[in-house]
Symmetry: C2
Subunit: 407 residues, 2 copies
Amino acid sequence: MPKISHRGIQMPPSPIRKLAPFAEATKAKGIKVYHLNIGQPDIETPQPILDAVRHSTFKILEYSHSAGNESYRKKLTSYYQRFNIHLDYSQIIITTGGSEAILFAMMSCLNPDDEVIIPEPFYANYNGFAMEAQVHIKPVTSTIEKSFALPPVKDFEKLITERTKAILICNPNNPTGYLYSQEELETLRQICLKHDLYLFSDEAYREFCYEGAHFSALHLEGMEENVIVLDTISKRYSACGGRIGAFVTKNQQVLDSVIKFAQARLSPPSFAQILGEAAVDLPVDYFNQVKEEYRSRRNLLVRMLNDIPGVKCPLPGGAFYAIAQLPIDDADKFCQWLLEAFSFENQTVMLAPASGFYATPGLGKQEVRLAYVLNKNDIHHAMICLEEALKVYPGRKVASLLKHSTV
Amino acid sequence: MPKISHRGIQMPPSPIRKLAPFAEATKAKGIKVYHLNIGQPDIETPQPILDAVRHSTFKILEYSHSAGNESYRKKLTSYYQRFNIHLDYSQIIITTGGSEAILFAMMSCLNPDDEVIIPEPFYANYNGFAMEAQVHIKPVTSTIEKSFALPPVKDFEKLITERTKAILICNPNNPTGYLYSQEELETLRQICLKHDLYLFSDEAYREFCYEGAHFSALHLEGMEENVIVLDTISKRYSACGGRIGAFVTKNQQVLDSVIKFAQARLSPPSFAQILGEAAVDLPVDYFNQVKEEYRSRRNLLVRMLNDIPGVKCPLPGGAFYAIAQLPIDDADKFCQWLLEAFSFENQTVMLAPASGFYATPGLGKQEVRLAYVLNKNDIHHAMICLEEALKVYPGRKVASLLKHSTV
């Protein structure tokens, strides 16, 4: 029997999805599970953009241009213009989800064995794309004590070698919800220019900022050749299943390279490009409404979390995630126990253990990620469940032991 | 300015699309261009499957399961059953086009620097996926003299090293249209079992066989651990823009690996999964009609080609491509000349030079690929254009010089 590849063996399974079989078993027992573990928004996809697809009249579902429909790319320039980001449509390549944009960035800019520095905890699927591109992730640790702010410059510089080619940030951040400030972006600018590094900026959650405006990497001056923005419509319009993202840069050499990767896979999905194009025409107050909903959920979630004895959760400035530190021995065990052995009033809650978002072994053992993608009533019940669970969890640890969690 | 990667530099541009700027310029001059260069079918996507998407009523465009919707995967088992291929739905992973299935196969089964043997001429994008996976393609040459039949076993065995992990075939073949026989598949079976190799079988054109039935790699006995079928709905239902394919194998280890790659990119496109699922319910005579249309186009195309003095084109058994040998000095030059310098009655024809489908330098210089994706009237006019062009092309060579083309 032929062997599978080293890559195939080492490829990490999704840490977010690994508890799924336990959740299925729990539901089969008739217990309601509140899913705070995964970033699938419950907000409805705006009707007009679904209608744009449903009312389409084309006769042949053709390949689009490998870079995406020109009409869509042109329209997207007006979307970015709202943020005072000035692009030519040729600087936007439509991708199959933000996922493909990340993979294209790693493939086009890094050689096998090159290194990319990423503040941890980070979006776990970056590991998968790094494995596919055969590049190494060097984590620089951000801590819950500092609300997951950008680590100091010296921590980055300690990691920089001749193999370092890029820094990757997610802003606002998944999984921490942290919103990087303009000052923090300027710090990254200095590091990148000094060491001739790319800055990959995953701005999937750009629209979801609750404390001040978003400062995009594309706003950084003198970084035209360094900045690549990885974008997606998935969260912005609750359109995760569309699989439409964008690769955005002013670096012409990089664009010339990425279009070849885009040609190899022919084209991004046609249906959802229609949806994405229609989305640019949504009324501007669409985001205001959605943002208000997420903001009020965040406020409820974080308040209720911090009201639970021994729980600590910094207020996230953006996205729809929060990381909380719990008075427990091991979040992996705890999350599994919540599904396997616990219920309160026939309900329980599913969380994502944060260990899967850290690259440094041992970190995040007492942390969980919560996605506030449920309505406030459900969040309320989920938090009551969590509070009750922490009262009876056999692996409960007192607060004084918590310091170890971020060593 | 940071450098792009070696991969980014070496990644081959699409040979099919490289003449596109010349075609644009030609059209701008008001000259009609018959596109025989690209496999975008003109056949309409069946209305019922477009309607399945257009009449959908879901409210949230959610991620699907990373392996695709269970309902679709289950339905696909009944599709394969029609070909006497018996699968459990867990043996099918829905991919983003056949493209992603090819990439997953290379990533999961081959280590960087491993080798895959592919009969040339072959689908040019295999080069791109090999580059992404950092694996090497070793071409085994099939010739127009033998109608692009499977090269002899000894030609394969000459290429097998300890680095060889797989043989990749496309059946029926793009770009040659050759339909491999059961005997040829049995030959591949013996080679793969003897040398412990995977057999990757790209069966994108399974439905388009004009001379006898299709014999799938999944029909081979004792090859459960070796065979991976790479599939797509793109050509089958004129649904190229849907970007829905499938990775099919009975090898559980490979499935366990591929699902991790699938999880990293979250899910395949949701809209077109609805379309793909509906397609399994199309009446069986749908393919008969489509196949008859392609068959009659093929007959017209090949007859008219062989009627042109100095042109030779074997009758392809499947797909919707043919490779013809022309009495010319260089197909790259000729194809560009057709667009830049020639027209007949204000019309010209766009062909794909075959050199881009060969990995061995120098091969295919007098060959072009023609995709019969236009109606018969257009094919008729395109062939008249080609005949007229060959009368006046400055680089015309007489037939006696043609022997060099397949050395």
